[in-house]
């Protein structure tokens, strides 16, 4: 039995709930058992750290403190979201590297009757435990429907392999854990040099031009390499590439259609689960045609379109395009 503490993170309950559903679906075949940290709170993503220091680290550390109370035969906390993983790992590491930070954070925790001794827990990402604890051989042995013929680019994203405080990954710039895992599922894995390039993170919200260019690079390169779809390990990457692809296409006047699925959804398919058990079909860039290559049938869902009639009648705000962005910048 493989038992871990789980820090799901906010997006697993909303924008990335397909990630959670597919994780639930593969737990039984892999004999994985998770105990959710009771009453966990948001890790602050990349926002709180930019406002102040001690409150930001105290927010993260409350989760570590709660988890350390819950240790029961395991000291490993698993985070499926790369940003949550990084924040938890970072707080644990910096509280040790700079003891004065650790002391202040503990003083704040005390106000809530909690404490955390840095180094008590081992913070790891979901793919880390799948590849290194469960192992590729076990995963391979559970495959009943190999993904032969499905061309996938493995997209690791940036916050998972970097900065890598505990030296967990095969490489910081081109780690191959996701490649190996997808290959174990029988997929045609395409070498993807951009595997750890950034998806834009929160820039889709605050500087869309910057984000669209980063998304375009990733999607265009995956497309040129003939990928049917991208595989991701992070809710933020999935959100940016899936939900903003339409807007990115408008911005550059391109017509890319590059679905992106969580690696757990692909594992589920290879283990013989049905697409609707795995949250497949809720992506905005439909994976229907891509998955037809392996004969998986995706429930039909309507794709949102942003078609607009020709400009006539009263002047209305127009769609955000590269031209508009230029004008905004001048203003």
């Amino acid at each position: 039995m493989n038992k871990y503490l789980l820090y799901p993170g906010c997006s697993m309950e909303s924008s990335a709930k397909a990630y959670m559903e597919s994780l639930n679906a593969i737990m039984e075949p892999l004999d994985l058992h998770f105990e959710e940290i009771a009453d966990w709170n948001c890790c602050g993503a990349t926002e709180y750290l930019g406002i102040n220091l001690i409150p930001a680290y105290s927010l993260i550390a409350r989760n570590l403190a709660l988890a350390s109370k819950q240790m029961n035969g395991t000291r490993t906390v698993v985070a499926p979201c790369s940003a949550c993983y990084l924040n938890l790992a970072k707080a644990d590491y910096y509280m040790q590297e700079r003891p004065s930070l650790g002391e202040k954070v503990n003083e704040a925790l005390e106000a809530g009757g909690l404490q955390y001794k840095p180094g008590t827990l081992d913070v790891r990402h979901l793919i880390d435990i799948l590849v290194y604890d469960i192992g590729l051989d076990t995963i391979r042995s559970k495959v009943t429907h190999p993904l032969h013929g499905l061309k996938i680019v493995p997209y690791m994203g940036c916050m998972l392999p970097r900065p890598d405080y505990q030296n967990r990954w095969s490489d910081h710039e081109h780690p191959t854990e996701l490649d190996d895992l997808l290959r174990a599922l029988g997929a045609d894995v395409i070498d993807y040099p951009l595997t750890t390039s950034c998806c834009g993170g929160h820039m889709t919200q605050i500087g869309p031009e910057t984000a669209f260019e980063l998304i375009r690079r990733l999607v265009a390169d995956a497309d040129e390499r003939g990928a049917h779809l991208m595989a991701t390990v992070c809710p933020m990457c999935q959100m940016n590439i899936d939900a903003y692809q339409n807007e990115m296409n408008h911005f550059f006047d391109t017509h890319y259609h590059m679905p992106i699925l969580f690696f757990t959804q692909l594992m589920g398919l290879a283990f013989g689960k049905e697409p609707d058990e795995l949250g497949i079909g809720v992506e905005l860039v439909s994976s229907r045609n891509a998955l037809a290559n392996i004969g998986a049938e995706v429930p039909i869902t309507q794709e949102p379109t942003a078609k607009r009639k020709k400009d006539e009648g009263l002047p209305m705000p127009r769609r955000w395009t590269k031209r508009e962005a230029g004008k905004e910048a001048v203003k």
Binding site: C10, N52, K90, E97, E107, M159, G200, I206, P304, A306
Partner: protein
């Protein structure tokens, strides 16, 4: 004040170095920042996927910190454009915690009210407001408040996406709240007091 040496004149340093800003930023950064160790090699800017949109590359910003150019640094858009991808961090030969220094500079710019564009600070603050109220992130509240305030022009093209996210159950209408919100509030209030005194 000591006379400037020939080397200092050649290096273009117009006045005696004042390292207080550099030290201040370094001390306010989580972990041991190594900021003082920067050798101005430029690996950071060369590795940055968003450098094209920055006022200054990280290397130049660190040179400005060393030169004590407080206002110019805090007005720069560089920390706000940083996407926290940590490419520069793993490549830096001096192991400067570059991304964390950027977080520190954002916080300092907000306090000094010296940022040029309010979009990013408002987004961070709105996100933090949601977390301080509910203990969880609340995407619908965050997105609607932020887009109405800063991206009215983008709304028409955002509607299908927002609609898709809601109908596919990927964005909840109501926020989720943690049970022990009182405990979290106590912790954060104490942390804010500590922040002021440190």
């Amino acid at each position: 004040m000591p006379h400037m040496t020939d080397e200092r004149v050649r290096a273009g340093l117009a006045h005696e170095e004042d390292l207080s800003l550099l030290h201040e930023v370094s001390m306010k950064t989580a972990g041991v920042s190594h900021l003082e160790m920067c050798i101005q090699c430029g690996t950071c800017g060369g590795s940055c996927p968003a450098a094209m949109d920055m006022d200054h590359t990280p290397r130049m910003l660190f040179a400005m910190l060393r030169a004590g150019m407080r206002d110019e640094v805090l007005r720069s858009n560089t920390p706000w454009i940083c996407v926290s991808c940590y490419h520069c961090v793993v490549r830096c030969p001096q192991e400067v915690h570059i991304a964390d220094v950027m977080y520190t500079l954002k916080g300092m710019a907000i306090q000094a009210k010296l940022y040029r564009d309010s979009t990013a600070p408002h987004f961070s603050q709105t996100f933090v407001d949601m977390v301080e109220t509910f203990g969880r992130s609340y995407e619908l509240g965050l997105a609607s408040r932020h887009y109405l305030r800063h991206f009215l022009l983008r709304l028409p093209s955002m509607m299908p996406m927002g609609f898709g996210m809601i109908t596919k159950g990927r964005m909840s209408i109501l926020p989720k709240k943690i049970k022990h919100m009182d405990q979290l509030k106590k912790i954060l209030n104490r942390a804010k007091q500590l922040e002021l005194t440190s």
